[in-house]
Structures are given as structure tokens and as C-alpha cells.
């Protein structure tokens, strides 16, 4: 019935009912008509920030908003971003391109309604576009949309047209993948600079398969199947995120049977046996990489250490990324093929990479003038080979990465400090560009264009994660620009390949791991095929009774 879900056998073993359990057993079932039949409990490490799609930053929030809101169309399983091929109709029943393909007209599903019963209308699409692209809103998706889209016009209540600015190959993906239509009748009166403070940001009204039910901060978020969803009722009737303050606690809840699904297990957790929980491989889209700061703290002078390409390459060779990846994320230890996630269509497994070779690394360091000192640290002109790695304290996976890197580099004579910073300090340091190495983690969007934000000259000064090391290489810049404007996938691929290889050779960063994430799922779950970049999008199709109903639940049903 409650927390004994995980182990029905034990429940009976302790027949002498312990005080705590007995209490719930006696009172808990009185009048309890609910079974957990259609309910899915997802264990989440950390709370959502806001449930307002234009301003949602955290993955936890996206899991909710993606199920509460519906976009015009959904990307296909092949994650094609270069055209609308493979995309399936959602809010829009169909769409048609103008002859010059500079505009696309969407025909909305007439049965689509907001969860308050109001029909979804073309005006809502136009309203959402205006809101996303309003500079007062500060939506990063909005910025991308505005870059390719000029405006949205409405021809009738169910028809609207998006007008593109230029023939960017990914314009359909950028617009439709980014824009979430919003209810104009609710949001039109909210001032654009106070959207985060509006009730809507905590209790959204969407048009997706699930309607928002409640959000108890730091405890749970609950959504339930919408009354009449125009694309068919979901099998899972209720989804609840139970919020733990940190990853380990969240994982615990799945092992104790208090929750059904956790997104990430560490290799140790995944390999330890647990009743009622099975590890599930997710095709991840996560990429972890270390970024060298190319310049001296906050100035435009070259970085005293990492201004030197040979040193960057030597340090790359000293890292055993296979071991690192195996320890941190995934027993199979997947090392990236290059500066991209292998889930992208532009992925290329044939690039040249510096090998892991400690001896070669040592020789390279020797030849660069870094001589081993008595204290097992290398020196050059009296200066030690010392630097720090910065990671945010909120990311356990990156902190652990830094610990392993620190030790591996110590083996070749580098004195490395790991600085674990809270969000604030991290933000401050990134802004001021005061760091030696920072470890980044991206959840690759389906589009390979992320490489531009990460490494192109034009991204410098765009803040935060955009090219934090201020790397600038004309070869890379032009290859990326060519790829972004290439008309065909084949052409784009060739350009991306040039950019990737240039990055690998120049080593402005080290691409560390690309986990095949192992999730933990209760054996009562019947999982469908999971989308590699967003496992939660398939939740409506999951089954939650499973083959082994729990003792407690069976007891509840008998009542």
C-alpha cells in the first residue's frame, strides 16, 4: 500500500507489525479506493524552477512542461533537424510550405483545447511568438527563434503562417522545436517583465496530454491525464515527480520502491542487485567536456599555460578518458568521437584524436621545458605547472570528473586544484572569465548547431556557457557557418567534419564522456521506446501495472 511496494515479501516477514507500518496499515486503507494502477512516480533530484516554457531552464522543469504543453509538431525518432521530414503533427494537424519555402502555414487541430476548456486558436500561436521574442522576456529559445523568424500572421482562427527571415536549413526545427503555443486569454494581461512572478509560472494551463494538478515545492509535482486529449488518452493516467534534494536520495527512493523511475544510476548502483528495479539503458545525448581558458584571467593576453597548443595536447594525452568515463558515468566507458554527441545526425566516428599515452604526454611536457621538480610537480622557468578545474557544486557528475582528472594529471606532474563552486560563484567566475579549466556538460539539442555556441568566435561575450574559454579559430568559424547554411544534410556533414577535426587538433577542450545513461526503472513499468534526447516524452505510452503487482497494492485493491 505504501512504502513496502518494493518488497512485498519482507512485509510479511515482519508479521509482528511494527508500530510505524501498522499505523498506516490500519488507517491508510480505510476508504482508500485508489490503487497506483495508472500512476507513475518519477524520482527527481532537485525541484523544478518554473513551469513556464519560454523561461524554463532546468531539465526537471522540461520534463513537466513537455507533457503539459504541446508544440505544433514533434521531431521524429531520427532527430532530423534539417527539414520537416519525420516530424509528426501535434497541435498542428498539417502544415504547408510557400513556394519559396520562406514561410510555412500551420493548420491547427480544431479539437485542441487548453486545459481550462478554451479552444486552442491561431492567435495563441502568434501571441506565443510575440512573447518569446519580446526582449523584455529574456527567453533564450526566443532569441534563437527571432534569429530565423520574422513574424507569425493569423489568417483564420485555426490557421497561422510563420514568416522566416532567411533560408536557414534548420529554420523549421528552430521555430517548431522551440516555440510552445501559449494561452493568450490567460497571459495577455501579465506584464512581460513579471512573467516569472505570475501564478501561471507555477500552475500552468497547457494543451498537452496532461493537465497540471499541483506543485508542492521541494516535495512533488503532479500532473494527470487531460480530460479529453485530442490525440488520444495516455496509458499512464497520472505522473508524479517526487523531489529529493540530491541525486543519491532520489536513487534511494527507487530502490526502496517509493518511486518507479530514476533517470540516472551510477555504475556502482546499476551493477548492485536490487529487488524490483531493473537498469535501463538510455541512449544519452549528454556530452561532458573540459574547456581550457585561452586567455589570462579576464584579459585578452594569452593564458600563461593554455595559450600553448602543445601543452593542451599533452594534457589531453595524459588523460585516460576511458577509465574516467567508466568510473563516472557508465561501465562501458564511452569516450566521445569528438566535440559532439553521437546522437546527432552530424556525428562522425572517423575523426583523428590524440591517443591516451602517458609516456608520450610526459615526453611532450619534457620537450616543452616542463621539468619534473623534487616535489613531483613540473616547473618551467621556476613556475610550477599548476592550475585549477572549476565545477558547479550542484553537478555531482562534474565534481567527480574533476576529482579523477586531478589525480590523472598529478601522475604526469601537474598540480591541479579542483574548485567546486556554488551556482553564484560559478556564474561570477564564468562571467569574469576567471578560471583555468571549466567542465561543461550539455544536453545536446537535436541540432548540431550547438557547436557554434560552444566554440565560434561569434559566441564570445554571449555569456555563460557560450564559448567560455574565448576560443577563436577562423577555420572553425567558417566551417560551422558553411554547415549551418548548407542546403543538404550531406553537404552540412562535410562542413561539420572539417570543424570537428580542427577543434580536435587544436584542443581548446577535452571531450571527456558521453554516457549511455543507465536509468533505474521499477519492474512494474513497461517502457516504450525512449527518445534519446528526452526520455520523458514517451511517458504517455508507458504501462505501469507491470507483470508483478506489489503485495501492498494488491492489498489495497482487496479493500
Amino acid at each position: 500500500m505504501t512504502f513496502t511496494r518494493g518488497k512485498p515479501v519482507r512485509y510479511h516477514e515482519f508479521g509482528r507489525p511494527a508500530a510505524i507500518l501498522g499505523l498506516v496499515a490500519v488507517f491508510g486503507c480505510v476508504g482508500d479506493s485508489a490503487s497506483r494502477g495508472g500512476t507513475l512516480v518519477v524520482s527527481s533530484a532537485g525541484d523544478a524552477d518554473v513551469l513556464f516554457p519560454p523561461l524554463t531552464a532546468l531539465a526537471q522543469s522540461h520534463e513537466v512542461t513537455d507533457l503539459v504543453f504541446e508544440k505544433l509538431a514533434a521531431i521524429g525518432p531520427d532527430l532530423n533537424t534539417m527539414s520537416d521530414a519525420g516530424w509528426t503533427p501535434r497541435l498542428a494537424q498539417s502544415w504547408s510550405w510557400s513556394r519559396d519555402s520562406m514561410s510555412v502555414t500551420f493548420h491547427l487541430n480544431p479539437r485542441a483545447t487548453w486545459h481550462d476548456g478554451t479552444p486552442v486558436r491561431a492567435n495563441d500561436v502568434r501571441f506565443a511568438f510575440d512573447l518569446y521574442t519580446d526582449p523584455k522576456v529574456h527567453s533564450s529559445d526566443g532569441r534563437d527563434i527571432a534569429e530565423v523568424t520574422d513574424s507569425v500572421s493569423v489568417s483564420d482562427s485555426l490557421t497561422c503562417t510563420a514568416w522566416f527571415k532567411r533560408a536557414a536549413p534548420e529554420r523549421f526545427y528552430t521555430l517548431v522545436g522551440g516555440l510552445v503555443p501559449l494561452p493568450e486569454h490567460i497571459l495577455s494581461k501579465v506584464p512581460r517583465d513579471s512573467l516569472l512572478q505570475s501564478p501561471f509560472a507555477h500552475a500552468p494551463v497547457g494543451s498537452g496530454p496532461y493537465k497540471f494538478v499541483k506543485w508542492e515545492p521541494k516535495q512533488r509535482i503532479e500532473i494527470a491525464a487531460a480530460d479529453r486529449f485530442y490525440l488520444g488518452q495516455p496509458r499512464v493516467t497520472r505522473v508524479i515527480w517526487t523531489i529529493a534534494p540530491e541525486l543519491k536520495t532520489a536513487v534511494q527512493r527507487v530502490f526502496t520502491g517509493e518511486a518507479d523511475f530514476i533517470e540516472t544510476l551510477t555504475p556502482a548502483e546499476a551493477s548492485a542487485p536490487h529487488d524490483g528495479v531493473r537498469p535501463v539503458r538510455l541512449r544519452g545525448n549528454v556530452l561532458g567536456y573540459a574547456v581550457f581558458n585561452m586567455h589570462e584571467d579576464g584579459t585578452n593576453a594569452p593564458h600563461p599555460l593554455f595559450g600553448d597548443r602543445a601543452l593542451r595536447r599533452a594534457l589531453s594525452m595524459a588523460l585516460d578518458r576511458k577509465t574516467l568515463a567508466a568510473n563516472i558515468v557508465d561501465t562501458s566507458g564511452r569516450v566521445p568521437y569528438g566535440p559532439f554527441s553521437r546522437s546527432l545526425w552530424s556525428a562522425d566516428s572517423t575523426l583523428r584524436q590524440a591517443p591516451f599515452d602517458v609516456d608520450a604526454a610526459r615526453r611532450a611536457l619534457d620537450s616543452l621545458g616542463w621539468r619534473m621538480g623534487k616535489d613531483s610537480v613540473r616547473y618551467k622557468n621556476g613556475k610550477p605547472l599548476a592550475f585549477s578545474i572549476v565545477t558547479p557544486s550542484s553537478s555531482e557528475i562534474r565534481n567527480r570528473t574533476a576529482v579523477v582528472m586531478q589525480e590523472q594529471w598529478r601522475q604526469v606532474g601537474a598540480k591541479v586544484t579542483a574548485e567546486v563552486l556554488d551556482f553564484t560563484a560559478m556564474g561570477e567566475r564564468m562571467r569574469a572569465k576567471k578560471f583555468d579549466i571549466v567542465i561543461m556538460q550539455t544536453f545536446a539539442a537535436p541540432s548540431p548547431s550547438g557547436v557554434r555556441q560552444a566554440w565560434s568566435t561569434s559566441s564570445i561575450g554571449m555569456g555563460g556557457a557560450n564559448n567560455p574559454g574565448r576560443y577563436s579559430n577562423p577555420v572553425v568559424d567558417s566551417a560551422i557557418d558553411n554547415a549551418l547554411t548548407a542546403p543538404t544534410v550531406t553537404a552540412a556533414r562535410a562542413h561539420y567534419r572539417v570543424a570537428y577535426q580542427a577543434l580536435l587538433d587544436d584542443a581548446p577542450g577535452i571531450w571527456l564522456w558521453e554516457p549511455a545513461v543507465t536509468a533505474g526503472a521499477s519492474t512494474r513499468l513497461d517502457l516504450a521506446t525512449l527518445r534519446p534526447d528526452a526520455w520523458w516524452t514517451s511517458i504517455p505510452t508507458w504501462g505501469v501495472t507491470g507483470s508483478a503487482p506489489r503485495g501492498a497494492e494488491a492489498a489495497a485493491k482487496k479493500q
Binding site: 515482519f14 490500519v26 488507517f27 485508489a34 523584455k136 534534494p245 526502496t256 555563460g464
Partner: protein, 326 residues
């Protein structure tokens, strides 16, 4: 209770001074530390202009003195501000955290305190016998276990191995709403059990030592002998003569301990994922959530002052001889 009034007035004045000093100190110091709520929240894709717009929108770009005056004005008029780390009104965040903490701390404290009085009294009466001595040794042992270690052990044994209690949180998220009132109460009690008992054990052994010493002091007093000589039963002796005279230290400790638990419970809150004040404070400080931190500081300081004043008042009602020391 006439002798209480001047005492309470003096106490209030004293507490107010402390409050103003602490609140001002925290306000200034916290705003001088690097960072602000914006940077704490969105480091990844934000530009300088957005940051500037944010600071202007919330007035963080103005001189600290101006911000302080404005904050005091708002606070006094009941507007506690906006919590950027929780994206909710501070009042709401604080109320939730406070209620949650109260739900955990009060039962834990009451249980622990009563246990302490019972244990301490028993130990004093059985002074020197092997069981009492053994229990005193156990007390020192238990007091040597940090609360988070004890919490981890309880979690491991009772939640993880034996599955006798849930591992954390406040309710069974899937079932809670569909239960009857009795069921919901039982659900909360079940989730409360491990963290509350852990804290209760800590409180019990911490307070029992003071209480045991106090009872020992009273036990050899002549009036206890008088009571016995007049034929009072042992239970009467304890209830009417020993306890009223011996409870002073236990009450005084309570006044200090209880407000402290609201913040000091953070370790146990962390282990059992209980969304109380301690965790809220840590999140608020890490998130540079100026308004929320200020509000927590005010509430804690007031609670602390109230706690010790209340303890004094209770002590006075128990013991007419107590001198009220302002």
C-alpha cells in the same frame, strides 16, 4: 503575574536590539558577498544586458543603504518580498518551511523532552544501580554520535534494510491525496517517524543529563524527606515534590534547544529529505536569495528570543522563587 510585566518589557527591548543588529549585519554582509539571485539561477545562457535588466528590475543596483531602507519599509508593512531561488513569494516559502519544520521539530522535541525527564528522573532515583549506570554510559555514547550519523544509520536499517518506514519526504506522493483524513495523518506520521525519533533520541539524551543532575540535587533535599515522612507514596513524591523543584534546568535547556533545532535540524532534514527550515536556509544562502535569507534571519532571531523568554515564564510558573533576571 505582575512581576512578569517589567521583566517581559525589558526582555523585549533587549531582543529588539539584538534583532536590529543581527538583521542589519546580515543585510550588509550578505549583499557585499559576490553574486546575486540572477547569477545564482541562470549562469548558462544569460547576457550582460539581461543581468543588468534584472538588477534594475529588482533594485539591486541601488546603494545598499537605499535597498535596506526600502526592505525595512516593505518588511514592516508585511511585504516580505520575492524569493528568487524558489520563484515564489517569500511569505509562502517561509510559511511552508516553517510549518514543515514545526511538524518535525515539535513532536520530536516533545517526545525527546518527556523522555529526558522520565529517563533523568529514573536515573537519579536508581542512582548507582547497575542499570542506571549502564544507561548513563549509553547516554554518553549516544551523545557522541553526531545526529547525521545517527540519521544515516536509522535510514539504512529501518528504511533501506527492513523497509519498516519510508526513506524520506513528508508523504507518499502517489497515495496521499486519495487517503482518508486518518490515512493521511498516518501517512505523515509514518514519514515523520524516523527523522522525529532520531531527533528525539538526541534531545532525550542531551536533556536527560541536566535533568538527572537536577533531580539528584533535589532528591536529598529535606522537603522530599518530609513528604515521605508524611506518608506520601513514591509517585506522589516524584510528581508533587521532586519534579516541580527539579524541572528548572530542563526547561531552560528547552528554551535554548528548541529554536536551535529549527536551523540545526538541517543535517537530519538532509538525510531524510524533509523540506524544512534548515534546507531552505542553505538553498537560500547558496542561491543568494536576499529577501528569503533576511526573512529567515528575522524569524529565527525572534523565535530564539521568544523561546528563551517562554522558558523563563514557564520556569517562573513552576518555581515561585526564581528571580527574573533581565
Amino acid at each position: 503575574m505582575t512581576r512578569l510585566r517589567p521583566f517581559l518589557l525589558a526582555r523585549a527591548g533587549h531582543a529588539l536590539t539584538v534583532l536590529v543588529v543581527i538583521v542589519t549585519l546580515v543585510f550588509v554582509l550578505f549583499r557585499l558577498t559576490p553574486g546575486d539571485p540572477f547569477l545564482a539561477r541562470s549562469q548558462e545562457h544569460a547576457t550582460e544586458e539581461e543581468h543588468a535588466a534584472f538588477r534594475a528590475r529588482w533594485g539591486y543596483d541601488r546603494p545598499i543603504a537605499v535597498q535596506y531602507v526600502k526592505w525595512v519599509g516593505n518588511f514592516v508593512s508585511g511585504d516580505f518580498g520575492w524569493s528568487h531561488s524558489a520563484q515564489r513569494p517569500v511569505r509562502e516559502v517561509l510559511a511552508t518551511a516553517f510549518v514543515n519544520s514545526t511538524l518535525l521539530m515539535i513532536p520530536a522535541f516533545v517526545l525527546g523532552w518527556l523522555g529526558a525527564v522520565a529517563l533523568g528522573t529514573w536515573q537519579a532515583f536508581r542512582q548507582g544501580r547497575w542499570l542506571a549506570r549502564a544507561s548513563e554510559t549509553v547516554a554518553i555514547g549516544v551523545l557522541s554520535i553526531p545526529d547525521f550519523v545517527m540519521a544515516l544509520a536509522a535510514l539504512w536499517v529501518f528504511a533501506f534494510r527492513l523497509r519498516l518506514a519510508p526513506s524520506g519526504g513528508m508523504v507518499d506522493v502517489a497515495l496521499h491525496d486519495s487517503l482518508t483524513l486518518a490515512g493521511r495523518t498516518a501517512d505523515v506520521v509514518a514519514h515523520l517517524a524516523l527523522p522525529a525519533l532520531t531527533l528525539a533520541v538526541v534531545v532525550m539524551f542531551a536533556v536527560s543529563r541536566y535533568h538527572r543532575a537536577a533531580v539528584l540535587g533535589v532528591l536529598h533535599e529535606d522537603y522530599v524527606r518530609t513528604a515521605r515522612a508524611s506518608g506520601a507514596a513514591e509517585s506522589d513524591v516524584v510528581r508533587r515534590h521532586v519534579l516541580p523543584n527539579a524541572l528548572g534546568p530542563a526547561i531552560a535547556v528547552a528554551g535554548i534547544l528548541l529554536p536551535g533545532m529549527f536551523a540545526g535540524g538541517v543535517f537530519v532534514e538532509k538525510v531524510f529529505a524533509w523540506p524544512g527550515m534548515g534546507r531552505t536556509l542553505v538553498d537560500a544562502v547558496l542561491g543568494r536569495d536576499f529577501e528569503l535569507v533576511q526573512a529567515i534571519v528575522v524569524v529565527s532571531t525572534v523565535a530564539i528570543a521568544l523561546g528563551s523568554a517562554l522558558a523563563d515564564i514557564v520556569a517562573v510558573t513552576f518555581n515561585p522563587r526564581v528571580q527574573l533576571d533581565t
